[in-house]
Symmetry: C2
Subunit: 733 residues, 2 copies
């Protein structure tokens, strides 16, 4: 299958070359005989972003307001700078406010719709909280109504997504990660995606699907940031600047999702962003502060507090319990890996073009999942309620002195003495069943055609596992009296939740901070650390994290961190050594534009002449095309037959009537030698944010590597490490 | 003054060139007529680190254990890899344990010695806590004894530092930052520094000097990491690997200093480290977890809890209070800037070679400060006690129901009703005086000749300012009844402390996390964020942060983040355009070694010939020297008169008896064109971790920039921005 693809791409590249032959002023290096490999990128819909070039563009556009040295102009420049500086801070603030408002809207809608599954309020149908309604009427046939309404809500959510914004499905985090990694594609951040994601998410969460609103809120925040950018020329035309804002938006999204402003910044740093300088961190910090303040002012939960599942534990755990937490972490890593394994299997089985998809429309599929979720969730009280209510109950302890909260506890406390936890095999079985149901539901729900995140169901499963562990420890300790004191069950539950979430997402430090902010458990930092680190280690032995896996499964381009193995291969092994070059005299505008329009790459090296491939600079295709088109339109002296030259690079005077494009040449393009190791190339792409490196030997072009082709080769290498025939696979058959 | 330096350096470079003339096989590019500028580095004692080269070295040494493809060897390689992986995690753990043990030792010593200032315990002179001693006897003349013992302790601390480890003075954070930025110098991480810092720190903190143990603990952790590295060849020979461990050590240091494991990781990320990939973050996270667990097991405070000043506030502040917090943040930024301004003045006035230093020995200076600190601190109860006891009192509220803690509260509560705070002009005046005393003491203490940090005195000053604000708000509110409810004074105190510390250090997110972990105030995250961000903004308008300022004052090389202004200058403006090049035939071993021993740079470009400066590669001087020395020793056929060649780069066969050094050439050295902007060069140095870039035009060497000379030029540029004659200053007079 793969080799067929390679052959096809080879053929099309030859076809392009033949088209090119008619263009004078271009030539091919290494194409005639020495051609060994040439990778055509499979990612045509993705445009890669050049941070370095965009930063320069931004600087140039600011500088263009004023000529340095002129005092008047310099004053104006100061004004422009001050305005830009203000924007730098106001835009993240606006994103924070918009995200908090969306989060609040979703929270209230979910509360209203999810209660609708149980009954309705005749006196005020649009009540905001069930407690406010004095005459709440339960449906006469509760099970059936529950299932029907759940199915309906899920189906509407799927329909909206399918009809108006297919990119609004799922959590959106793999897409955001790809975008922050330096690629732009499609409708991920479009306004329709934003609207559908907000409404669809409310519906799918309210329907009781095993999903959360946390990941999608990150996506919503990013959509807001993109929406706001549209009105600001400085940002709308500059992809790198947009990405700075997206990093801030991610932080604001998590801040709203969990009421965890610090956790948001760290999530953006650890999981989402590729480039995250201190200045962006400060802005992210600001965005999430604003989001948190707005949220606490809007106060959707009515508690006036930010934290979702606030449960304060003051006593540090005993020594032996750290061992149990370690085991919980290991278990969490395994549970997470198993989830990823089966979820990917499910994703493959229902992908586009599969038998399943041929017979079952995606809306039907979501309705089916909604229906089955309703059927399986209703019988058990602990799964019938919304997942976050379940998690809140499991995180709390019956010993808590807040008596009014005992209604929360979902039968986890002793009915005779509600300040004591229930310790029995009965409750262990119930919790195990509840956790297992949510887990299986989650395997099918994540990745289906409705907006749905996986934080909440992961936390739910983990909380159940943790709570069971706590009950078991208490049971055995009562029987055998091994230890003087056992921590409350809520503590175990929190650790279990962190473990499973850590096993699924493989985030560590940001998860600890989020859990810590969620639960206000200052003494729990170290236990959380133990659990998250062990979950990550164990999980990493089996699979990658769910987001990285999804990036792979959906075939997005993404540059991971540098690995040691990359030192074994060099630029020579991965470069495209058949490179089309442009020369200073490159024919007429007409033929040149035809060549550029059929270009395989985003740009080409400019070399001295057909005979001498000495590198002069790099030409960005779209930049040149835009310039030529505007010249043809504006300048009457220019026709299709006008000659195009790069006068600065000619060794003789240019023809008088020729159009000189010297100013469009980027002579600062990065170059390196063929012996450069892939690890160094990798850090150039990742840390400098560039999108192309030209391979030269003694100044002469011998090859070219784009970020996309590099990622492609690295993925090949990753799946066929050296010694298993990977290198041979790169050679033409 | 500066121009004199420049002339001197110019002259010495000419002298070196004259020495060089005798060496055949080397030549100078641009040296004869076109020479415009050439910067000799002022930082000869600093060696810059090449991350990329060190990473390659590490990979090579691991690979050397096994030849790929051989099954036996591959098994061994797997074993080596597993061992390395284990070390990767065990070493940070060891650093964590050692740091926690040191912290515990310091804590106990300080407790014992500081009580000695008040009296002694005849029954058990080596008691660990004053509460344990039943017959504690106060000195008969308390004021005099207090001052004398304080002076003595300070003097001993200064003597130890002066005599055995001068690098142990101060906080050590500017030095650590420089080292993590990619330079190595002197005795900063030596074993004597470690020992003196531990003992000296205990003495200077116990003496009551206005200083804390937090910053120095970071230094101690780094010394431990360096000490442990000495026994592991993989680390001792690899500077880049050592820096990974140092980043982890920083985190462990803060974790022990504040009992704040998360804050430690973030401090290392935000303030200390230059390169901090996710993998290092994970290890730092592990190190600080281990440190925290060890600390809670050693339990030096006796509370069994990690947090230093635990004070839990559950009620979120009211809306209007955010405005007050913002004002506190602004005030904190100002107070911090004023501190930096005067501290730098003091530092300059007592630097080496000043009149002050000529007449006053550094030990005498510290004794004097110790004496004056004792004299000014004793009269006021709030300053007589150790600073951390004062901070704890101010952070707490009299309303706290822990009655046994009211002895802590240092007269801040109403004597008639200890559960109510004292609200009077009297206490406002006392607190203002106490804060001011500590502040002035801090200005003179930070930077003197004893180990001393500034976190604790900054927190103290800030806590006093905050507490005063709280009391004033209560007073006005009681009188005018503006607001329904005012937060407790402890809350204001914590915000004030965060503001001043933020104003001094300009850290934001890590400070919020540290404060949050210190005080267990979950509802306080957003208020802390408001205060820290405003303190940073305001402070940045006046001065840089204290650590960056110290790096400047002490003239350490450090590469800050990229700034926008750097886009205005190019490589051409900052490169050394008189470059000495080596050619493939470079004379006899004797003359070549003489040349290398007198080398100005750490390496030289290898070019095709005297006539053709086409770049072939780069030669690292010390690598070549080491190789040549070992060859002369080992190989009898080689004498001083043997010819040295780089056979691979010769266009004719090499002489039969010549020594071929081709394998020592690094052909993957980074190159760029003279038009490359300084901003891009900056990110190459900073983000790729390289130490030299060769400037080529069409493959031919035209200049060279080392990391040090780049920093030098950037500092010039920073102090004389374009248009003020900076560029002219770079040209020779």
């Amino acid at each position: 299958m793969e080799s067929v693809n390679k052959k096809a791409s080879k053929r099309s590249s030859i076809a392009i070359f033949q088209d090119m032959l008619g263009v004078s002023g271009t030539s091919r290096v290494g194409g005639s005989s020495g051609s060994r490999k040439q990778s055509l990128s499979m990612w045509n819909q993705f445009k890669s972003v050049d941070w370095a070039a965009d930063a320069k563009k931004d600087w140039d556009s600011q500088k263009s307001y004023a000529v340095l040295g002129d005092e008047e102009d310099e004053k104006e420049l100061v004004g422009v700078k001050a305005l830009n500086e203000m924007g730098t801070w106001l835009i993240p603030a606006a994103v924070g406010v918009a995200t908090a408002a969306s989060g609040c809207f979703i929270e209230l809608t979910v509360e209203w719709l999810s209660d609708l599954k149980m009954g309705y309020c005749p006196s005020s149908p649009l009540y905001t909280s069930r407690a406010e309604c004095k005459d709440f009427v339960l449906w006469s046939n509760p099970y059936m109504c529950y299932v029907i309404i759940a199915t309906l809500l899920a189906a509407i959510s799927a329909f909206l997504t399918w009809a108006f914004a297919p990119m609004a499905r799922g959590s959106g985090i793999p897409e955001i990660k790809t975008i922050l990694g330096g690629f732009s594609f499609g409708q991920v951040l479009a306004t329709n995606t934003l609207c559908v994601k907000i409404v669809g998410l409310s519906l799918s969460v309210a329907s009781g699907l095993s999903c959360g609103k946390e990941g999608p809120l990150v996506h919503i925040a990013c959509c807001w940031s993109s929406f706001i950018c549209k009105f600001l020329p400085r940002y709308s035309s500059n992809e790198a600047k947009q990405r700075e804002l997206l990093s801030c938006a991610c932080a604001a999204g998590v801040a709203v999702a969990f009421g965890a402003p610090l956790g948001g910044v760290l999530f953006s740093l650890e999981e989402a962003s590729t480039l995250f300088p201190n200045r962006t961190m400060l802005r992210a910090f600001f965005a999430s502060s604003v989001a948190a303040i707005t949220l606490s002012w809007l106060n959707p939960t009515g508690s006036g507090k930010l934290t979702m599942f606030e449960a304060s534990y003051d006593t540090p755990p005993a020594g032996f319990e750290y061992v149990i937490f370690l085991l919980l972490g290991i278990l969490g890593g395994c549970v997470g890996s198993v989830f990823i394994h089966y979820n990917v299997k499910v994703a493959k089985a229902r992908g586009d073009g599969t038998t399943w998809r041929k017979y079952v429309h995606i809306i039907l599929e979501v309705a089916l999942i909604g229906c089955l979720t309703g059927v399986t969730s209703f019988p058990l009280y602990q799964t019938q309620v919304q997942s976050n209510v379940g998690i809140r109950a499991m995180f709390h302890s019956c010993e808590d002195t807040f008596l009014d909260r005992h209604s929360w506890m979902l039968d986890l406390c002793d009915p005779d003495d509600p300040t004591m936890p229930l310790v029995s095999w009965e409750i262990v079985k119930t919790l195990a069943l509840a956790g297992f149901i949510r887990y299986v539901q989650m395997v099918f729900t994540f990745g289906t055609g409705a907006p749905a995140g996986l934080f909440i169901p992961s936390l739910y499963t983990g909380a159940a596992i943790g709570r069971i562990t706590g009950i078991l420890v208490t049971m055995f300790n009562t029987k055998y009296g091994w230890f003087a004191r056992v921590s409350r069950h809520g503590v175990y539950s929190m650790i279990g939740a962190a473990s499973v979430l850590g096993g699924v997402c493989r985030v560590t430090i940001s998860l600890v901070v989020i859990m810590f902010e969620l639960t206000d458990g200052i003494q729990m930092i170290v236990p959380f650390m133990v659990a998250c680190l062990s979950a990550k280690w164990v999980g990493d032995c089996f699979t990658e994290g769910i987001y990285d896996y999804m990036i792979q499964v959906r075939k997005y381009p993404f540059l991971h961190e540098v690995t040691e193995d990359q030192r074994a291969s060099t630029a020579q092994d991965v470069m495209d050594d058949t490179v089309d070059c442009i020369h200073p005299e490159c024919g007429t505008i007409g033929s040149f534009m035809r060549f550029l329009r059929g270009a395989r790459y985003g740009g080409y090296p400019l070399t001295v002449s057909q005979e001498d491939p000495m590198l002069c600079g790099y030409l960005n295709v779209s930049l040149v095309l835009d310039y030529l088109e505007s010249e043809i339109e504006m300048n009457e002296a220019i026709s299709d037959n006008t000659k195009v030259v790069f006068a600065k690079y000619l060794d003789r005077p240019a023809p008088a009537d020729a159009l000189d494009l010297s100013d469009l040449v980027d002579h600062t393009v990065h170059q390196c030698v063929p012996e450069q190791s892939c690890a160094n190339l990798h850090s150039m792409f990742r840390n400098l944010g560039i999108k192309v490196v030209i391979i030269t030997r003694r100044g002469k072009v011998v090859g070219l590597i784009t970020k996309k082709s590099f990622i492609n080769h690295m993925n090949d290498l990753h799946h066929h490490p050296p010694g298993t025939g990977a290198k041979e696979a790169l050679l033409p058959k």
